[in-house]
Amino acid sequence: MAGYILRRLWQIVPTLAGVVLLIFFLFKLFGGDPAQILAGQIASQEQIDAIRRELGLDQPWYVQLGIFVREILTFDWGKSWITREQVSHIFLSRLPATLTITIPILLLEAALAIPTAMLVAYYRGTLLDRSVMAICVAAMSISFLVYIIVGQYVFGFHLGWFPVQGWSDSFWRNLFTYAPLPILLAALVGLAPQTRLYRSFFLDETKSDYVRTARAKGLSEPAILRKHVLRNALVPVVTNISLLIPGVFVGSFLLEIFFSIPGLGREIYLAVNRSDYPVIQAVTIYLSVLTMLINLAADVLYSFVDPRIQLR
């Protein structure tokens, strides 16, 4: 196990190098001149030259790449070009708000989708199953934007059940006052695709031999589903949920923009609009590293869920 983890960590190195090179050259070749963006519209040539010297832009590209790598390794990205806020501070101060809404969404989606999928898998082929599946396809065809716009209008503005938008300094107040509406909307939207997917996982299992044996020895259908099918179908379900985990960090950017939640996703969107390169680069690279580590953790988790899987 330890050997496996070490080897996987070692394999991250070339991938990470690729990510760094990709981001560096994307900005270098296709991005605007940082000095020009920083200096603004009305800047003298001296000012621009001074900024170029300060950022090391007058050096050859490999020296700049070295500076870039040093920034990554030392977690020192300096300040945001626009707000002059430390980039590391942006990370630490925005992440809690994002996690306050994304983690409940992840849990709620799974808690709703797994039983629904089991239910329709139990009634497979019936009118209930087919109508739920048709509703799922139709629900998935409507843009997430529409759900947010209408949900915010109906439940926040028209009925007044929830605040339209806002955020506070208190975690509990955020969780129970401001977060419920975005959480509910996102969970409902995520329900359709996840139910469809989990239903297919359950149905794949019901076709297998051990289920036929269980049926043959006279086990009731609910007991088969609960005791045999659920356990085996949980392996792909866990895989799918682990694939969703990296999205926890920036996946809620639309909700954050609509509900004025000061999270990481909204911060990146603002950074894109302001051409605030250091923020975009830092967030992209660190979240890529995090994604790779989470995928590794998910692979290790498999061996616990499914004893047949041996990590080598």
Partner: protein, 350 residues
């Protein structure tokens, strides 16, 4: 006996056509998608919704079926037009000596304010443009972006996947590395990074108009799934007998890759392509909503939704409804068609 031997095997594509016809859901979906395509062609030719940007109605004109509904915004604008009498500033205005000259030039110029109608078939937006026309033109732009981007992503993914799967060894290693790099960056961050780079970089002015920015963003970030599928298929096919036979009669590597193997994996590509179209249309809508998609002189479902957010608060729901309905019908039909296509192309079900 001879009659039995005479039966020629059915062509795969004729079989697909026959099965799509037999599948009722598939046939209906195909009909809807075809109707959209006809609508798009008409819109491209300018026969339909050509004047979507003309302000033909009063601001927020009511839909025809709600003609009686009070329209506060239009009434307010009418009143401000009637009160148009300017107070006399002749004594204090330093520009007063030129008043006569301007009055003369005003007389020479003829401006006609077109008659704005009070109602439009499906209502009007903030500037009095016809929402139905906008929805049709928006369908054209959104679907075109989705399809063109999906074709570009398919081209990249198929080419790289074919190379990796066919040659294996270091080519495969290199492309796998590239694949790992692209998939380890969360998709939305890669999209945002590209958007940031393309909007401020030297290419900003090149792509400023038209749909190319968003097409490039989508194609550049969306090729990975196609690559993985095609690579797996090519690995399966490269040592099959028909490919070895082609090699034996001297077919070049390129010929084996694209003349012999490609038609045999095209069904996988086709299904993945239509999945990409649905996914890309959804992303385009979000990007255009955020102002990172199509330029402001174009209309897409996303820009319509962006306007609809503020309209809803003052009770003008028709633009939201139009964009949502046009989009939902197309995406539902297209998803259903994809499902039928997958079933019809599945050799196990034959």
């Amino acid at each position: 006996m001879a009659a039995v031997l005479d039966v020629t095997p059915e062509n795969a594509w004729t079989a697909l056509w026959r099965r799509l016809h037999q599948d009722r859901v598939g046939a209906v979906s195909l009909g809807i998608v075809a109707a959209y395509l006809v609508m798009i062609l008409f819109a491209m030719a300018g026969w339909l919704a050509g004047g979507w940007s003309v302000e033909v109605g009063v601001p927020y004109a009511n839909p025809s079926f709600l003609g009686e509904r009070p329209n506060l915004e239009a009434a307010l604008q009418k009143r401000s037009q009637r009160q148009g009498k300017v107070p006399d500033l002749r004594d204090i205005d330093p520009l007063a000596p030129r008043y006569d000259e301007w009055a003369k030039r005003t007389q020479e110029l003829k401006s006609t304010e077109p008659e704005r109608s009070l109602t439009l078939p499906w209502g009007g937006d903030r500037w009095g443009r016809d929402v139905l026309d906008k929805a049709i033109k928006g369908s054209q732009v959104s679907i075109a972006v989705g399809v063109v981007a999906a074709l570009c992503a398919t081209l990249i993914g198929t080419l790289l996947g074919a190379l990796a799967g066919f040659y294996g060894r270091w080519v495969s290693d290199l492309l796998e590395w590239l694949y790992n790099v692209f998939t380890s960056i969360p998709a939305i961050l890669l999209i945002f990074t590209l958007a940031a780079v393309l909007r401020s970089g030297p290419f900003a002015s090149v792509f400023a108009s038209g749909i190319w920015t968003v097409v490039i963003i989508l194609a550049f970030t969306g090729w990975t799934g196609m690559y993985r599928l095609v690579r797996a298929e090519y690995m399966k096919h490269r040592s099959r007998e028909y490919v070895l036979a082609a090699q034996a009669i001297g077919a070049s590597a390129a010929s084996r890759m694209f003349v012999h193997i490609l038609p045999n994996v095209s069904h996988v590509i086709l299904v993945q392509l239509s999945l990409l179209v649905v996914a890309f249309i959804k992303v385009e809508v979000v990007l255009s909503f955020l102002g990172l998609g199509v330029p402001i002189d174009m209309v897409s479902w996303g820009t319509m939704l962006a306007e609809a957010q503020n309209e809803l608060i003052i009770g003008k729901w028709w633009q939201l409804a139009a964009a949502t309905v046009f989009m939902a019908i197309f995406l539902t039909a297209f998803s259903m068609l994809t499902d039928s296509l997958r079933d019809a192309l599945d050799p196990k079900l034959r």
